[in-house]
């Protein structure tokens, strides 16, 4: 019986030379595997490792040979020399439309499609694209023109769907990107790619990178806050998990702090009855001492993160109640945001909180709104989705603008992908559904660093392929970093032997056409 080479039976030890490979190869192995060669090679490896260690200590590994004078780091312990250049935006607010808003029903106006109602989209448009399991089996790909009329708005005559009457009022402040495109066609990989620059989990998200690179502006509030919008059970809500605002290989201090969407955004914020501030302080001091002992014994840097998080939580006990106390907002706030904004958990309420966070120095706020995944009954669902989000987004941009905050705040509105022009399932005279579409989707930015009042990029007549000026997710993220004063190619973190960065291994570029 032939023995497996990995068998641990030492009596019949099998060497690699027993493997069924040609004799010539075996001779070669025997010739090269000498002791002299082994020692020589080991020596070289050790030499290189030592050299790499020396280089690392001398700071030669990154940004070597830069002549410019470095500003001494004041705020952070890490010496990242960020921002690389004077930024236009100090902070950012990201309105994330999870599920994939249909671009041709909101911004990407295709008037010629009305004439092609229910006609099959030409195969040449789709090419050899692999569709999702939901429509790959469809015999027909009937064109579903948008159910809603569009109107021209602003100085530029920008076309906006009648579904977004509030958004239409602020198009002169928006930088609309019609040609955002992604690599993934399903929610999880697409939403990961959008947020972390990589489809696989384990990479830090945009907010974590910013928290790591730029640090906080307010010691009493987290640098990166995530707000969830209360879900509407009628909508098709895709799961949104904390790894979207995770810190990946960066220290967990930089992960987003999620606030709950209910009336109590941080649980157990108030001290229990009988426990006053001093008792709480003493408790924390003791916990910290134990944590420091653990750190000395184990040496896990995550212990440091834990200490920092306890301290942050303690400070948030006084800062968060002030942050979420909207009772002193003037009447003009409610005129702008609408009465819905008084109700915790709504999108408008979150937008108002985002403005209050911008005022209080939160570096990055991300608001998640789920439910845009309109595979069917788009005509029924889109008015609800737009009604929930349109006014809040408009109010946020307008409020920031009138308070002078839009000059140095970047507002971003995006989903993880777009939707197909062809109907998923049956197309009727008054309803349709739309499948996922990664090749082009519409996003917008506003505020610090981007050029207001423009529409960037062109899609084909089916809103299916990019015709001009594509903006890949990586370019999109590179542009966001640029607005915040960061050169995405220089902003790296060494992990697993790679200089990791948000814009991942494939080259990305800042989209100059979007910049102010």
């Amino acid at each position: 019986m032939k023995q497996h080479p990995l068998c641990s039976d030492c009596e019949n030890l099998v060497t690699p030379l027993d493997l069924p490979v040609p004799r010539a190869v075996k001779n070669e192995w025997a010739a090269i595997e000498t002791r002299r060669r082994f020692l020589g090679r080991s020596g070289k490896v050790l030499g290189w490792a030592a050299l790499a260690g020396l280089f690392g200590e001398m700071g030669l590994r990154s940004n070597a040979g830069e002549a410019e004078v470095k500003a001494p780091s004041l705020e952070r312990g890490n010496n990242l020399d960020l921002p690389n250049f004077a930024p236009k935006a100090k902070r950012a607010i990201y309105l994330f439309m999870s599920g994939g808003p249909p671009q041709m029903d909101l911004f990407d106006y295709k008037p010629n499609l009305a004439a092609q109602f229910n006609e099959d989209m030409p195969d040449s448009i789709r090419g050899n694209q692999q569709l999702t399991g939901m429509t790959a089996g469809q015999a027909h790909f009937p064109v579903a023109p948008s159910h809603w009329p569009f109107g021209q708005h602003g100085q530029n005559g920008t076309w906006v769907s009648n579904l977004l009457p509030y958004c239409a009022r602020m198009v002169d402040d928006l930088t609309i990107i019609k040609t955002t495109n992604t690599d993934a066609i399903n929610h999880e990989p697409a939403i990961m790619l959008m947020n972390t620059g990589n489809m696989n989990a384990g990479k830090p998200c945009l907010g974590a990178w910013l928290a790591y690179g730029l640090g906080g502006m307010n010691d009493n509030l987290p640098t990166f806050i995530v707000l969830q919008t209360r879900t509407n059970p009628k909508e098709n809500n895709q799961p949104v998990s904390s790894r979207l605002w995770g810190s990946g290989f960066l220290s967990s201090e930089y992960a987003g702090v999620g606030l709950r969407s209910g009336a109590d955004p941080v649980l157990y914020l108030a001290d229990p009855a009988g426990v006053d501030r001093d008792v709480r302080r003493k408790l924390l001091d003791t916990v910290e001492e134990i944590n420091r002992q653990t750190l000395a014994q184990v040496g896990d840097p995550e212990t440091n993160s834990r200490i920092a998080q306890y301290e942050m939580a303690f400070r948030m006990q006084s800062s968060v109640p002030e942050l979420i106390d909207i009772s002193k907002e003037p009447p003009s706030t409610w005129d702008l945001y609408g009465p819905e904004a008084k109700e915790p958990g709504t999108f408008a309420y979150n937008c108002l909180l985002a403005r209050r966070m911008a005022e209080r120095g939160v570096r990055f706020t991300q608001i998640y709104k789920r439910g845009w995944d309109v595979h069917d009954n788009a005509v029924g669902m889109l008015p609800i989705l737009c009604q929930e989000t349109d006014r809040g987004a408009y109010a946020l941009v307008t409020d920031l603008k009138r308070r002078g905050l839009l000059d140095d705040t970047l507002v971003i509105w995006a989903g993880e992908f777009g939707r197909t022009v062809y109907s998923q399932g049956g197309l009727t005279q008054d309803n349709y559904g739309r499948d996922h579409h990664p090749r082009c989707f519409t996003t917008w930015m506003a505020g610090g660093g981007v050029r207001p009042g423009i529409t960037y990029g062109e899609t084909d007549e089916y809103s299916y392929n990019v015709v001009k000026d594509p903006v890949h997710v990586r370019d999109f993220n590179a542009t966001i970093l640029h607005c915040l004063g960061i050169d995405h190619n220089r902003f790296t973190y060494k992990f697993q032997g790679l200089d990791q960065k948000l814009t991942s291994p494939v080259p990305a570029s800042v989209v100059q056409g979007l910049l102010a």
Binding site: K70, A71, L74, A86, R360, G404, R451, V467
Partner: protein, 480 residues
């Protein structure tokens, strides 16, 4: 002398026997030269590659006859004392004539082959032709000068030739380097004596986006080859009408359709592409240039429109040239100490110290008052952004703030100021942003700020000040 005689004798033996015959020969050659530019009509179209290949040696070859002709008067002058040099002068003159002829032919090949045309090209060509004819005449009259039969004709002709040479060479230089090459960096007192040609443009469109943002791009990057001087490809970009007319490939812009506009296509190609513009390694258009062109074409490429979405209106885009502040590194220990004791922060704007510091008070906002602000005076020249929103500062803060000479942004929102003494800010020439939202500032208090040229963003939300009466250059309720 002997060599010259031998040479002229040889020439006589070869082609001409009598003086009249030589004159006839010279005359014939001159007529031929005059006809040469007519025989090749420059049509603005590129021709066979080999023509251009040879033609491109023209700019280097041309320095041979130039050098010789400049040398010639010195040789002739020195020749009055040293006989050998006089003989050499005759040889140099003939050599200059021969190389000049080859250069002229190559020059015509270059113009014809590359499809270049324009006023300067024509002038340059005629200059070369006239120069050669003058040199032929020089060759004819020089023997008479040597034998002292006529003392004036040859020196006069030589002088004229040198003037022609200078003028022609200048035209050639303008073709390769652009017509403002010599005058661009001329000291301004000198400039008054040389009115520059680039002033010529469509005066009728003054004040339009075209004149403000588009024409300057053409002027800087394109007109050297696509202007009155050169008309490469039959295209001129120095006047709107000529630009709209297009070149040999037809119109270069499709109004409202940037993607189908040849102009945009050519400037956005890969720089290694054969058709990339500007060609031959000249400075490419910047991303801003391209974005402006795109926006302008998208809006209809009108010469009169005064606003185009995407292109900032007058003065708005042109951010104040940011004044670098000094290096604050030597104050680092003081800054750290201040941060520890006061709880306020001085944060670098960027990794470059000359970008300045941000004064961040948010962590100690409720206790930050005028006294604390006054203690920051020694950091004042390095602070470009003072975030004093929601602090306890009062109107007394303006005394200290007036010493923040490099301040660009001032946040005073939701503070107790009334703006009574706000006039003290008017010395801050760099100030562009002033946020007074949520204060009790009145429009009267704003009056002293009217003269501040750079103060473009004043925010008065939720104040008694009526935005309509705020300074005219403020951008109340509209940021950019």
């Amino acid at each position: 002398m002997i060599a010259t005689l031998k040479l002229s004798a040889a020439m006589r033996n070869l082609r001409i026997r009598t003086l009249t015959a030589q004159q006839f020969w010279i005359l014939g050659l001159s007529v031929l030269l005059v006809l040469l530019p007519f025989s090749v009509r420059l049509d603005g179209r590129a021709h066979a590659d080999w023509l251009q290949f040879l033609g491109r040696f023209h700019p280097s070859l041309v320095h041979l006859p130039i050098g010789m002709l400049v040398l010639l008067p010195f040789l002739e002058l020195a020749g009055t004392a040293r006989q050998g040099l006089r003989e050499a002068a005759g040889f140099v003159l003939h050599l200059a004539l021969a190389t000049g002829f080859v250069t002229l032919v190559f020059g015509i090949l270059l113009a014809y082959g590359s499809g270049v045309m324009g006023a300067t090209v024509t002038l340059h060509m005629w200059g070369g032709t006239v120069l050669l004819i003058e040199l032929l005449a020089c060759v004819t009259v020089r023997p008479a000068w040597i034998s002292r039969q006529s003392r004036r004709v040859y020196p006069a002709l030589l002088g004229i030739s040198l003037l022609t040479l200078t003028w022609t060479a200048h035209q050639g230089g303008s073709l390769t380097h652009g017509s403002d090459y010599l005058t661009r960096y001329m000291p301004s007192p000198l400039k008054e004596f040389f009115p520059t040609a680039s002033a010529a443009s469509d005066a009728a469109y003054l004040g339009s986006v075209y004149m403000r943002s588009i024409h300057p791009i053409f002027d800087a990057k394109c007109v050297a080859c696509h202007g009155a001087n050169k008309e490469q490809g039959g295209l001129r970009l120095d006047f709107y009408d000529l630009f709209i007319k297009g070149g040999e490939d037809g119109a270069v812009v499709a109004p409202r359709n940037p993607d189908r506009s040849l102009l945009l296509q050519r400037v956005t190609l890969s720089p290694t592409d054969k058709h990339f513009m500007p060609s031959e390694g000249r400075t490419p258009l910047t991303a801003d240039d391209i974005a402006a062109l795109r926006a302008w074409i998208l809006a209809g490429a009108s010469p009169t429109a005064t606003t185009v979405p995407g292109i900032a209106a007058t003065g708005e885009k042109a951010d104040v040239p940011v004044q670098p502040v000094g290096d604050y590194s030597y104050l680092m220990n003081d800054i750290r100490q201040m941060q520890r004791s006061q709880g306020t922060k001085l944060v670098p704007v960027s990794a470059t110290p000359s970008d300045g510091l941000i004064l961040r008070t948010i962590d100690a906002a409720s206790t930050f008052d005028d006294t604390q602000l006054a203690r920051l005076q020694r950091f004042a020249p390095f602070i470009v952004d003072a975030e004093l929103g929601r602090t306890a500062v009062t109107d007394d803060c303006f005394d200290t703030l007036s010493k923040f000479t490099n301040l660009r942004a001032l946040h005073l929102e939701d503070t107790g100021i009334t703006g009574r003494t706000m006039g003290k800010l008017s010395s801050l020439s760099q100030l562009t942003y002033l946020n007074l939202s949520g204060t009790s500032v009145t429009s009267d208090a704003l009056a002293p700020l009217k003269g501040m040229p750079n103060l473009r963003h004043i925010y008065l939300f939720d104040t008694p000040a009526d935005p309509a009466t705020a300074s005219p250059n403020s951008a109340v309720g509209s940021t950019h």
